[in-house]
């Protein structure tokens, strides 16, 4: 079951195409990474889901229903550009935002209390935002995103601007929220930062989706059948099972070789061959590409603006 399905989304801003025929399916209770460089169209997609802007054409469904204003309360949104009313008290501010999401005053007050307790912040209730430290403000910001217990939580560049302590706190919260049934969409151009958390990913480049699916499966698909071997001393002679791609001296008599299986061969055959050759093996590991590697591989040559971080 998918919580969100997008079909054939198109959006153009004054001749700049922001989204071109984008299809997406986001499974329930997953953490979904929406990845791509700056300006790829991620924020446009998110704004359309949040009904801040309308798509030129295409369709979005939430739980099988066409996106409508009643879904505002089902979504929690942390925009990339974020802030709060500086002169408003924490309690008033959260109450206002919760009520805008459709909570009754009574419900909102309860939830705010519970969340502030969770973050050990109960005594902030009557403090103005401007009197809080940056880290505290970030916590309030996060509470404002999730306090109405949305089914779908959308976080645009969630860890930019959060300090490491808050970032890990929020990582834990996100995992907890998924356990409780929420679906989380991460949008980021820093692929390594959310790669570890995502169950599914979609890659967007130049306003088009170029890849999507389960993360482990994608990684599998992009495996190049290469293995890293660290060994001592004598060299390796290749045969019809594998080829030697790279070789490097690690010092203290250690060497690292990158070996590639040739068609049909298995890793056991490779190991067998190495043992037969009396190679002194220290470690043997399959090379699994990172999402970043995959992304670079996919867009190489067509996009100069690839993040290298």
């Amino acid at each position: 079951m998918h919580i969100l399905t997008a079909k054939n989304l198109n959006k153009t801003f004054h001749e700049n195409v922001a989204l071109h025929n984008v299809d997406l399916e986001i499974p329930k209770q997953s953490i979904f990474g929406l990845l791509g460089p700056n300006g790829a169209g991620k924020s446009t997609f998110i704004r359309i889901v949040n009904q801040i802007i309308n798509a030129d054409s295409g369709q979005i469904q939430i739980n099988g229903e066409n996106l409508a204003s009643k879904h505002i309360g089902t979504i929690g949104y942390l925009p990339e550009e974020r802030g709060l009313y500086k002169k408003m008290k924490v309690g008033d501010q959260l109450l206002y935002l919760a009520q805008l999401k459709g909570l009754s005053k009574k419900e909102a007050v309860q939830k705010i209390k519970a969340w502030l307790e969770r973050f050990e912040a109960s005594d902030w209730l009557n403090k103005k935002i401007e009197d809080l430290s940056k880290g505290m403000q970030q916590k309030v910001q996060f509470i404002s995103t999730v306090m109405h217990e949305p089914e779908l939580i959308i976080l645009d560049e969630p860890f930019s601007g959060f300090d490491p302590i808050n970032a890990s706190l929020i990582k834990d919260e996100i995992l907890r929220l998924r356990e409780k049934g929420s679906t989380v969409i991460f949008s980021t151009h820093r692929m390594e930062s959310v790669e570890e958390m995502c169950d599914y990913i979609a890659l967007i480049n130049k306003s088009e989706k170029i890849l999507d699916g389960e993360k482990s499966k994608i990684k599998n698909d992009f495996k190049s059948n290469q293995y890293s071997l660290v060994h001592r001393g004598n060299g390796i002679s290749t045969n019809d099972t594998f080829s030697l791609e790279k070789k490097a001296e690690l010092g203290e008599g250690l060497q690292q070789s990158t070996l590639k299986l040739l068609s049909g061969a298995s890793s056991n055959q490779l190991l067998q061959e190495l043992i037969n050759q009396k190679v002194d093996i220290v470690s043997f590991k399959e090379d699994i590409p990172s999402i970043n590697d995959i992304f670079i591989q996919l867009v190489k040559g067509e996009n100069q603006n690839i993040p290298t971080s």
């Binding site: 500086k86 805008l100 999401k101």
Partner: protein
Amino acid sequence: MSKIGLIIKREFDSRVKKKSFLLATILVPLLFPAIIGGMIYFAIEESKNAEQQKVYVLDEAGTFNFENDKKYAFEELNLSLEEAKTIFTESEAYALLYFPEFELANPEGIVMYAKKNPSLQASSYFENQIESQIRDQKLKESGISEKEMEGLKTNISLSTINVSDSGEEKASSAGVAYGIAYAFSFLVYMFVLIYGTQIMQGVIEEKSSKIVEIIVSSVKPFQLMLGKVIGVASVGLLQFAIWVVLIFALSAGVFAMFDLNPADMQTAQESMSGMNGGSNAQAMMENSKAGEILNIVYDIPYAYYISVFAFFFISGYLLYGALFAAVGSAVDNITDAQQFTMPITMPMIIGFLGTFMFVMPEPDGNVSFWLSIIPFTAPVAMMARVAFGVPAWELALSMGLMVIGFVFTIWMAGRIYRIGILMHGTKVNYKTLLKWVKTNS
């Protein structure tokens, strides 16, 4: 509560709870009566404390005879001019009036010596005294007796009566109409400018604190804009209501304290409370000028004025408030806003100046007509015209265009706003604004 209600409430609360609101709301009404009271107080004190000042008169022909009054005591000198001057400079007297011998037909050489520059009031007082004495002398010479002269003195104050088509007569006063025109148009002008700017600041604050994207994920940008415009207006109306009540209460207190024309007030009040049978009081009232003005003030069709005022007050505010909101959404900070606020405040200022230059001197003139019809200047100009009386069809036309005007600016502002609030760091010019208006979101 509906979402727009929540927005209005937040805008209202966040402003009313500010200390500056409390301060302005209390201080402004205190200031007005304090200034008026202060002025009255000093005026009364001055006239109380003012000693009679001595004025020497050296009249070589012996034609003049000055009577002492509250301000001046006259003393005749029968000396030469030089001696008189010495006495004057050594004394504490205010002035020395010197009359050489002169022909009545051609009075020349009259001099007033004073130690410091005499006030305009003082010199015109003496001029009047001398002129009237010379006139009396001339009349005497032409053979008119003193008794006949007494009979010639008249005091006149012109009262004007408006005759309506139905033949009904109503006392009117250009002064009262002018006062009302001034007050109403000034209030509209101030209100729109002060609270329009507040809307703009609010929008810029939301934009620069980056909260706006969170808000518009819950409400439509148009709702947010409208909520802000209405919220700020309700703050303004509350403040305005408090001012009116406080100013009236305090002014009444100040007037009571100085015991100003209690008799006139009393008769006026009596005649007002007993309008039907109080012909006696009515008659009494018409005797005094003050009573007459009170009569006119009482006769003002308040319900009409106030409803017209409310209409232009609110529609003018909506028209300009929406434009201010649009400007706020298009820029990143107050300094960038200036290039766009100019064209908004310009028609406002033109309307205000036009009201003083054209509408007040000539309420039914051509320029006045156009100023009161065009929606951008109408709120100020029409309020001034209403005080002098406006044909019903002109008022209806102006109101109709006003409604079209503010619906149009709100629509246009809404289209700029929904895009503008999400734009950061883009340099915006009029061409971009036009593009936003045309864009479908």
